[in-house]
Symmetry: C2
Subunit: 114 residues, 2 copies
Amino acid sequence: MPEDCIFCKILAGEIPAAKVHETENTLAFEDINPKAPVHVLVIPRKHIPTINDLAREDGALVGEMMLAAREVARLKGVDRSGYRIIFNTNREAGQEVFHIHLHVLGGHPLGPMG
Amino acid sequence: MPEDCIFCKILAGEIPAAKVHETENTLAFEDINPKAPVHVLVIPRKHIPTINDLAREDGALVGEMMLAAREVARLKGVDRSGYRIIFNTNREAGQEVFHIHLHVLGGHPLGPMG
């Protein structure tokens, strides 16, 4: 665990977070600066800095993150109305924390993608 | 294969597409209405209407889509500058084709997420 990783600190219980869902290998919690009425982050317990750093054997882990995101959408009541799942990598996408995470956004009509 | 699914028709070679990358279970091709300098779609060969319809055993398939997206970013030269991967589900996210797909966007600073 990198000492300066805020998501590793959340996983270790050193920084509080509003948990939404968890699985063996993932944790979902409320984004503290929400960009939509529903804005939840899903992270793996394993520290991986960016999507570029995924090993081939991490495919199943990312799949587990996606299944967790689908469950978050259901728990938040936006699975039928609609939701967006986003992974941002590096500067031009605005990645802020270098521990991979996906955003689940919903609760209003979502804007342009790019 | 649903008869009216445009992505199944692309997979069957009945509608042309500018292919970018393919794997055993996925195909990547240029979006015909790009929202950023780089805008590529990655689809599974299996027809699944929405992320809500994923079976638990589809986790590995979605992981393969993500690894394909990472490879698309590398092929397009945006892996270092940055890229966004998006899955849209249902109306409020603007899902237009009901065969799951992810968008790989990059090539300029990407806007707000939600």
